[in-house]
């Protein structure tokens, strides 16, 4: 599969109070972003579990990201910081097994940032296109010292 016709599958775990609303706003603003993103709504990114992130990869997602509120603006005080920690932890796990931690990312945005939501979607699709299909879907595993 060449880089051109590879369409990444990406799962976005979105907080109900920011990124999920931002996605809605992106729609209202008629912004264009790649159709590779599939959204799973959570009440707060603090609900996201390493288990969920890994299962998404296991199911064949080439990339996964968590989109929560701006730091300090979490609707539930500090859920997004907990999510950040878990994403960092999961990235480490993915690196250890040669999967590539950069397939997973945490983003912050507010409900007003429809444009940012579309940007993040584009950014993530471009990144995953460069990385190629996930090792689970027959892509290359990453060895130490491999360039991104």
């Amino acid at each position: 599969m060449s880089e051109d016709d590879f369409e990444p599958k990406i799962v976005a775990f979105c907080c109900h109070y920011c990124a999920y609303t931002a996605a809605d706003l992106a729609g209202s603003m008629r912004l264009q972003y790649p159709p590779n993103i599939r959204i799973i709504r959570l009440p707060c990114t603090g609900k996201v579990d390493v288990l969920h992130l890994l299962r998404a990869f296991e199911d064949g997602a080439d990339g996964v990201y968590v989109a929560g509120c701006m730091e300090g603006d979490c609707h539930f005080i500090n859920g997004n910081f907990r999510a950040k920690k878990r994403v960092q932890y999961a990235k480490k796990l993915l690196d250890e097994i040669g999967f590539g931690g950069e397939r997973l990312e945490m983003f912050n945005m507010s409900a007003a940032m429809g444009t940012r939501f579309a940007e993040v979607a584009k950014e993530m699709v471009e990144r995953i296109k460069k990385l190629g299909p996930s090792p689970i879907r027959g892509g290359k595993t990453k060895k130490d010292g491999d360039a991104l």
């Binding site: 799962v11 599939r38 603090g46 609900k47 299962r55 064949g60 609707h75 005080i77």
Partner: protein
Amino acid sequence: MVIVATGGEELKPDEYLYGKNERVMTQLEFEEHLVEEPQFSAAQKTVVMIQCVGSRNEERPYCSRVCCSTAVKNALRLKAKNPDAQVIVLYRDIRTYGLMEPYYREAREKGVVFVRYEPEDKPKVEERDGKLAIEFFEPTVRRRVTIYPDTLVLSSATIPRENEELALMLKVPRMADGFFLEAHIKLRPVDFATDGIYVCGLAHSPKNITESVAQAAAAAARAGTVLANDTISVGGVVAVVDEEKCAACLTCVRACPYSVPVINERGKAEIDPVKCHGCGVCAAECPGKAIQLQYFRDVQVLAKCDALYGKEEVAA
């Protein structure tokens, strides 16, 4: 129950010699002169108004909505008191929307001159020999024209009042320009995503009085739907503990941002469904997976993952 109605105000411009020449004023100041000073109108031979001052630019991309109608209203008011006064309105696009369109026509009939300018070629305002000189391109005669008016009125932008502290306190979102953002533009126009907080008026976006009144009535009605009930049912999104699995490790007690979980007399964690805000932090942190957040149980989230990129596809 909170209704956010902090309002807005008129931007004090920092261009077109505002604050440097006393004959340069905003629409509100001009209106005050018209109403309060009986001699003011008679002394005006020529008045120039500049529209879109501080709105629809890089910094504030939005339209302030009220300035076109205010300019037309004040032009007509001046014309009524002093029919000989010449009024020239330099505009980008006239938006006297809704039922205010007839006033625009009336203003044209009474001889108010409307001249369009391009944002790349804004009118130039300077002092020449103690007079106020305004130079602009007149597209119908295709020439640069200079006018020496008695008063220059700036239709400046509507801006929100200082509300950052309030936004942080209530944890409600604002747009980049400082106006509060509703939960959904079309489906929940006066609600915030947070229950029990509503928004109306200029706090939300620039709008005229009729629109503010309509929105205020909507916000009050939305608040009324809650206040009218003797009891309200809380959402079902709450955390539930499986006592069989709970080891009373206190992780949830420490993790909960609202200090809801307690260890009960049976030595197990207990979460009061009325106090629970439903964020799911405890469910994610619980090392024994003894807590599940209703509607977002692990099996449900995992089922969503499976459904999106199902396992059959992986094999293919």
